[in-house]
């Protein structure tokens, strides 16, 4: 069930009709759990077995971590189980494909059957959320949750279940322990957030997707400039798609009196790569920082071990995104980029002499290069795209610079420009301009009209659902 469908509107109306009176009783968590399981089972009821298993596993291990003498063993058992679950459902196909290819190279006449496993929606998100609870309990950072219904509702909370933000137990579980307080401004805040998310998804992401698909489906037919434009368009598509989902999730949760963390903070206004990762998919970046980077050693130790830690974290983050070599390369490139620019970022020259806008453009363009691997179907295609971009390839469609520009839809260009300028102003001293009553109301009216115009019955899935 997608947020921007009539099905969801009906679902949410029913959920709220029961939730509002129940929120003052002890039944509200059970209702939230039933609603969340219904929401998740809408995709495929079989997925419920998986989420229930993951919940029961982490709940049980959580209890054991409080009483057992073999705390480390229990945690190891829990992590192996969680990672096996993720590995089996997400990476089994990738693994067999690669082993098969290896056998072919080595001339080993052994055929491994395709596992044909259906990837459950949002598995990477709820597994990470549940896992973080067990680790935090082990570290003594979170109180053990003894109420199974409450814990299950925390793992399956429907607004953020399938595409995050990946909430931490220490932020979300305490909220679930008290009856939710819904104030009037939570309603207006929630609706405002939801509308902006809806705009990002329907008007921006789904629109840009058409242009990106057209070019990326046959990159060999397009010259350097259309490929550059399509890559820029994809950068905004993925941002609007994912942050749009998050905005909607946060808006829905807010209406229910639950606060979810900020997941995107205008990442394309970042001035260095570190800054970018503090602004992009914040809940995942901080997850990797706390549960991968720091356990690997973090900033401690030799310079080279720090480099190794950063690189490995980025590499694993890439692999988390998808079972394909393109994501591995994407993660590796980000790791290399981070390592290569770390020193420069900290230099006085870069900090004080380079204009901010130039730094923002440099970061944005580097990120766009990495997005090529994220979007293209294969590494070979990614390399072809980059080759065509960097060698200034031309095509029979675009013969001149002017004809290339004429093939870029002006409406698309204007929408991206408007969003970019908005974010630049938001991050500048002129932010106050955007906060005037006129600007806020004008923004909501304009975005609503555009949503109404661009909304069609064909609703596209969110990109991050596949992760």
């Amino acid at each position: 069930m997608l947020f921007h469908t009539y099905e969801f509107i009906v679902f949410f109306a029913i959920v709220m009709a029961v939730y509002l009176p129940l929120r003052r009783t002890n039944w509200w968590q059970l209702w939230l759990l039933i609603a969340s399981y219904f929401f998740y089972g809408w995709w495929n009821p079989l997925f419920l077995i998986l989420i229930f298993y993951s919940t029961a596993l982490n709940y049980f291990v959580g209890l054991k971590l409080g009483t057992s003498r073999f705390r480390k063993s229990w945690l190891t058992f829990c992590l192996i189980n969680n990672l096996f679950l993720l590995g089996f459902f997400k990476y089994a196909g990738f693994f067999t494909d690669n082993v098969r290819a290896l056998f072919q190279i080595l001339n080993i006449p052994l055929d491994i059957p395709d596992p044909n496993i259906l990837l459950p929606v949002g598995i990477s998100f709820f597994t990470f959320q549940a896992m973080s609870y067990s680790i935090d309990v082990f570290r003594g950072e979170v109180k053990i949750e003894k109420n199974f219904v409450r814990f299950a509702a925390f793992v399956a909370l429907f607004p953020q279940l399938v595409a995050g933000p990946i909430e931490r137990a220490k932020a979300l579980l305490p909220q679930m322990r008290h009856k939710p307080l819904i104030r009037w401004h939570d309603l207006s805040d929630g609706i405002s957030l939801f509308m902006i998310g809806l705009f990002k998804k329907i008007v921006m992401a789904d629109f840009l997707a058409i242009y990106v698909e057209k070019i990326y489906n046959s990159p060999e037919n397009f010259g350097a400039l259309p490929l550059v434009f399509a890559t820029y368009a994809f950068a905004w598509q993925i941002y609007c798609d994912f942050s749009g989902y998050t905005d909607m999730a946060r808006g829905i949760a807010k209406i229910m009196g639950i606060r979810l963390m900020l997941n995107f903070n205008n990442p394309y206004t970042a001035v260095d790569l570190g800054d970018f990762w503090r602004r992009w998919h914040i809940s995942l970046s901080s997850w990797f920082k706390d549960y991968v980077y720091i356990p690997l050693g973090g900033n401690r130790g030799f310079k080279y071990s720090v480099y190794r830690n950063i690189f490995l974290t980025m590499l694993i983050s890439g692999f988390w995104h998808g079972a394909a070599w393109t994501f591995v390369v994407w993660g590796a490139l980000n790791g290399i980029g981070r390592l290569a620019t770390m020193k420069i970022d900290r230099s006085d020259f870069y900090r004080n002499k380079i204009p901010k806008i130039l730094k923002q453009l440099l970061v944005f363009n580097f990120i766009c290069v990495t997005w090529v691997f994220f979007r293209a179907e294969t590494v070979t295609k990614s390399l072809l795209i980059l080759k065509r971009i960097f060698t200034g390839a031309t095509s029979s469609i675009e013969t001149t610079f002017l004809s290339t520009f004429q093939n870029v839809p002006a409406v698309m260009f204007l929408l991206i420009l408007a969003m970019w300028v908005y974010q630049l102003v938001f991050n500048s001293k002129s932010k106050g301009l955007l906060e005037t009553r006129f600007m806020r109301i004008a923004s909501i009216v304009t975005t609503t009209i555009l949503i109404l115009i661009f909304a069609t019955s064909a609703n596209k899935q969110f990109i991050y659902f596949q992760f």
């Binding site: 401004h185 609706i191 789904d206 900020l262 205008n266 093939n407 870029v408 698309m412 609703n459």
Partner: protein
């Protein structure tokens, strides 16, 4: 000096768009009243449709119900009689001068009958059209075409889902499609043939009851070749979509050379053994009965034209069943005190297919119709 402590709201988001409750209510009221209702109303009033020439809606506008509402409003201003029906009345195989309404007007020597027929308009869709887009024909004289062809099987009756057995049909994507799905009841359990998803159905209701969405669909159909707006913008990068929109629309069919002279046998059509549904089991017949009641309630003077159906294209058994059906239809209309014309069988060469006549066939139908009370001048 004592500093007043500012009450802090939760950290919000990465944008500044955050409305207070009061602002949200005012904005919502503005959007609902001005955008969703008032702006489409003003547009409707300002929009002009060009109906010069033969009064026959262009086939490209067959699914543009916003435009149809305009069309009905114009028709009722200038014509004392309205003719409702499907492609038989619209004139599928003939040009503008050879449709039934055009021939009646020629015979009467003045613009009397308005052609409000639309291709593919079965009874269930006609009912939806009358309920939602044609309230302007209240108190008018109305001739309604009833085409029994929609009762020939459960599939055309929409009471049964068409199963495609033929591999070739599946390959060619020739699954039988429902005509005018946006006019039929969206959540009826009876119409089992209509099995669209919830979102699609809700989208139709949205268009039916919120004028803004009807206007959007009208703009899309009239100026953007029925394309999705997003897709159109990407496919036409050099064009400004705003310049495509106009407040004047040429609504009339302009194809003057559309006269077809091949009869059904020459076209290679063969005999059919259609089962024909019993009236009590037919959804189309039920809808037609409701149409008659609705028109009566709206104070319309009604005349029903039944048929034509090509009897030569039916097997003996099928023809027998059809004759029995004809009698039942006539009997019901008689019981309701509704004037009707049962179109007589024509020579086989006058049929283009199972139900459409060629131009000569239309002459015979018009002769029958000219004898009806509804077309006789009032004394």
């Amino acid at each position: 000096m004592h500093k007043r402590k500012k009450k802090k709201r939760d950290p919000f988001s990465s944008n500044a768009v955050r409305l207070s409750n009061k602002e949200l209510v005012v904005t919502a009221i503005f959007i609902i009243i001005v955008v969703l209702f008032l702006a489409p109303y003003i547009w409707f009033k300002m929009e002009k449709i060009d109906t010069s020439g033969q009064f026959r809606l262009a086939s490209k506008h067959r699914a543009n119900y916003w435009l149809y509402r305009h069309w009905v409003a114009d028709a009722t201003k200038n014509h004392p009689v309205i003719f409702l029906g499907d492609s038989v009345v619209w004139g599928m195989y003939v040009n503008n001068d050879n449709t039934i309404p055009a021939k009646i007007n020629q015979a009467l020597g003045k613009k009397t009958v308005a052609n409000l027929a639309i291709d593919g308009l079965h009874s269930i869709a006609t009912k939806g059209l009358l309920e939602n887009y044609a309230s302007a024909i209240r108190d008018k004289k109305v001739i309604v075409h009833y085409n029994p062809l929609w009762m020939q099987s459960k599939i055309t009756d929409l009471s049964h889902i068409a199963v495609i057995n033929d591999e070739e049909d599946r390959d060619m994507d020739r699954a039988p499609q429902i005509n005018h799905p946006r006019l039929i009841p969206q959540f009826s359990q009876e119409i089992t043939a209509y099995n669209e998803g919830f979102s699609e159905k809700a989208g139709v209701l949205r268009e039916r009851y919120i004028p803004f969405f009807a206007l959007l669909n009208h703009i899309r159909l009239s100026f953007f070749n029925n394309d999705d707006f997003k897709q159109w913008i990407i496919d036409h990068p050099n064009e400004n979509p705003l310049t495509k929109i106009a407040l004047t629309i040429d609504a009339c069919e302009r194809d003057k050379n559309k006269n077809y002279d091949r009869d059904w046998e020459t076209s290679g059509m063969t005999k059919q053994n259609w089962p024909w549904l019993e009236p009590e089991e037919s959804l189309q017949w039920k809808a037609f009965q409701q149409i008659v009641q609705l028109l009566k309630k709206r104070n319309n003077e009604i005349c029903i034209m039944i048929g034509p159906i090509n009897p030569y294209m039916l097997t003996a058994e099928s023809l027998k069943r059809y004759r029995a059906l004809q009698q039942e239809i006539c009997a019901w209309l008689k019981s309701q005190n509704v004037e009707y014309v049962l179109v007589k069988d024509m020579p086989p060469k006058m049929y283009a297919d199972a139900s459409h006549p060629l131009a000569d066939g239309y002459d015979l139908i018009v002769k029958q119709l000219l004898k009806t009370k509804i077309l006789l001048p009032k004394e």
